[in-house]
Amino acid sequence: MSLILGIDLGTTNSLAAYMTPAGPVVVRDASGNALVPSVVAFGEGGVTVGAAARAHAVENPLATIYSVKRLMGKGLADVGGDLKYLAYPVVAGRGGMACVKVAGREITPQELSAAVLREVKARSEAAIGAEIRQAVITVPAYFDDSQRQATRDAGRIAGLEVRRIVNEPTAAALAYGLGRKGDSTIAVYDLGGGTFDISILRISGGVFQVLATDGDTHLGGDDLDMELIELIASEIRDRLGRDMAFPPATRQAMRNFAEAAKIRLSSQDQARIEIDLGAAGRLERTITREEFEARAAKWVDHTIEHCRSALAGAGLTADRIDQVVMVGGCTRIPLVSRRVGEFFARVPYTAINPDEVVAMGAAVQAGILAGVQRDTLLLDVIPLSLGIETLGGAMGKLIMRNSTVPCQASETFTTYAAGQTSVDIHVLQGERELARDCRSLGRFQLRGIPPMPAGAPRISVTFLIDANGILNVSARELRSGREAGVQITPAHGLTSGEVDAMVKESYTHAIADLTEHRLIDLRNEAGRILAAIDKAVAEVGAVMSPAQRAAMDEAVGDLKAKMEGGDPDALYAAMKAANEAAMPLTQMQMDQVLQKTVMGRKIDEV
């Protein structure tokens, strides 16, 4: 029997686990590391994934792609709030789908996630010593249909048959509850890098029944990092001017500092930050835990509101919860466990590694699907109501949220004009009253309706949500008994043909494209640097010593020569050298009244 891998595809980190007779085992590298940073870097050496890619983030912010999970299955219009977390450009792809622009090429979040999955797969194959073709991949419980489909497509692109999409808190519950006897009701509080989920489950006799789930796919550790980034940024602006715009490399550096400080503040009372501001000196700052908690409190309060709502959905009060299982790196933050403990009036359970428990649960689900874990069953729910747009733009709910999956609903449609052979149905997901306030999953076209007078055809459409929480639509014309063809146009997803094409597309092709695009981009940047230096020489050239001037002239000459060549690495190095040689000019400019505008432009052009 072939092994099914359990994969936690996270916003920040990904990892895998697999089922053994002794229980789930996490895949680790030689040094014991389980986590693969969910980062993909596009560089001269090709595509790198994981820790190596992450190391490039500061020097190459525009081509180091992280937190791509925030973009999965979304339109550009839906990700507005998320863009502030991302140093790389996000553009509208086909149909408005959010795509990443790297070196002049548009890459879908599905392809980027596939690169991470491929890395996780390769590491697992090396550790297990067998080829892996099937996987169970986890998603936040609050992911909608498009986001689940996008995750499944990412798996297919990575060469994996995705046997199940399983909800992260549910997976955590499986890992926690495996082998435990008795009947208990638990809450799983899952605060990850970019998403928050709370699920209430009842576990009895090996059956894990999800009673309710709630959450926010725009709330996670990134938001806490952002609070610290804003704190640092406002102090830099105090020094360098209010209108200071931070170029990508600086934003990336601040992001790293903020994340490190956040982690440090989980175990220490304070964290020290030192940032080199170039000519403006250094920013040295000690952030205390109180300061951090004051800024983090509103986010933690949001999660508590979701806990309240999940309890209401389950029809329970907090005192009915026997155990609160903490999942996700952010639950290490003392403020989080304190507030959660207060709300549920019990000490949260933290005995399982919060980074690894989801992958372990995915492995348990893989064991269930492989038929080796026959005494365990998971009954999960759909997190958001599913419905269709009705006349007047209202949302007509067909399947209520927190319904156990699989589940189905049928609705009968008819035609409005004589001889009409197709009907459009707009499928929505969400809790709001109006269609425009809900997520659009796409438009379904019923075709092949036999021509009849208006209102005569009776087309019965069945909406079936499978155990993955993914929608399947089938239709039948009742009068003629004819099966109506259903064409699905995903709102922000890939068609199956597009996925197939991506599976086939070789990566080498993409890399060749990439080198070419990188050269073009670097030449453009180099041109801007040269122009900036010319301008600086004209304005403040007199401040340079003859030696400095000679060194700069030499660097500029070298840069011009490399711009003609075809080696992006050499060009990049020459750009850096020219910039450094021109430093005395830039410093002078900054000291003058013009400092902020020139500084902004200078860093922009690096």
């Binding site: 059956v207 699907l369 069953l377 998971l378 319904s403 156990t404 589940c407 155990a467």
Partner: protein
């Protein structure tokens, strides 16, 4: 066997030929019964066709049936069996969702017994409408000024009203069962249950209005 206990359990499993106790799946070989997806909800969960059912009992039946019908249990079977598991399991989940809620269970049983649907008979008990109109005004007033404690009070009043109606419905189903047992005609009782259930829907609608909704977002 009275009419209320009538089920459509096939006598034997179509694969292993052993007698079947439950409708959806064979106890011995876990072969799914193709007729299950079309069976009524009581039959699907192996419950007697009656209103008075303990919620934990319904849940226990649901879990034990789900164990061998869920698609995950059939994940290594052939595609046809997997497809059937999906359909049967979806039907079982629908059944549980309907039967565990007393008002939904009453409405479902009523139609199964030949009673009228809410679309066919919209009548409500005498004097009920006036009370509800009054309550509705009070809710609107409390919402307008954001009086949370008044909304809480109204919610309690409505919940008490709903519970009273449900007790009356339980009593009527009991009477109906007795009437059928003595070969009497129970149509009037079914009509009365419909009336009471219409009142329950009304109360539930008002109850949802007492839960403060965020202005936007």
């Amino acid at each position: 066997m009275s009419e209320l206990e009538k089920t459509t359990v096939p006598s034997k499993c179509s694969r292993c030929d052993r007698p079947m106790a439950e409708v959806p799946v064979c106890d011995y070989c876990h072969w799914l019964n193709p007729a299950a997806a079309g069976a009524d909800y009581f039959t699907l969960l192996g419950l007697p066709r009656q209103f008075d059912l303990d919620e934990e009992w319904i849940r226990g039946k649901f879990l034990s049936v789900s164990r061998y019908t869920h698609p995950d249990f059939h994940a290594t079977d052939n595609p046809q069996a997997q497809e059937m598991a999906l359909r049967v399991s979806a039907a079982i989940n629908d059944a549980y969702r309907t039967l565990r809620d007393p008002a939904n269970r009453a409405a479902y049983l009523l139609e199964l017994l030949g009673g009228k649907s809410s679309a066919e008979d919209r009548s409500i008990p005498d004097g009920f409408l006036a009370t509800m109109m009054m309550m509705q005004e009070e809710i609107a007033d409390a919402r307008a000024v954001g009086d949370k404690s008044e909304l809480d009070r109204l919610r309690d009043v409505l919940a008490t009203q709903r519970d009273g109606l449900m007790r009356r419905i339980a009593g009527l189903f009991g009477e109906y069962q007795e009437a059928v047992a003595c070969q009497a005609i129970g149509t009037d009782l079914l009509n009365e249950i419909r009336k009471q259930l219409n009142a329950v829907s009304y109360v539930k609608k008002l109850l949802s209005q007492t839960i403060a909704q965020p202005a936007a977002g």
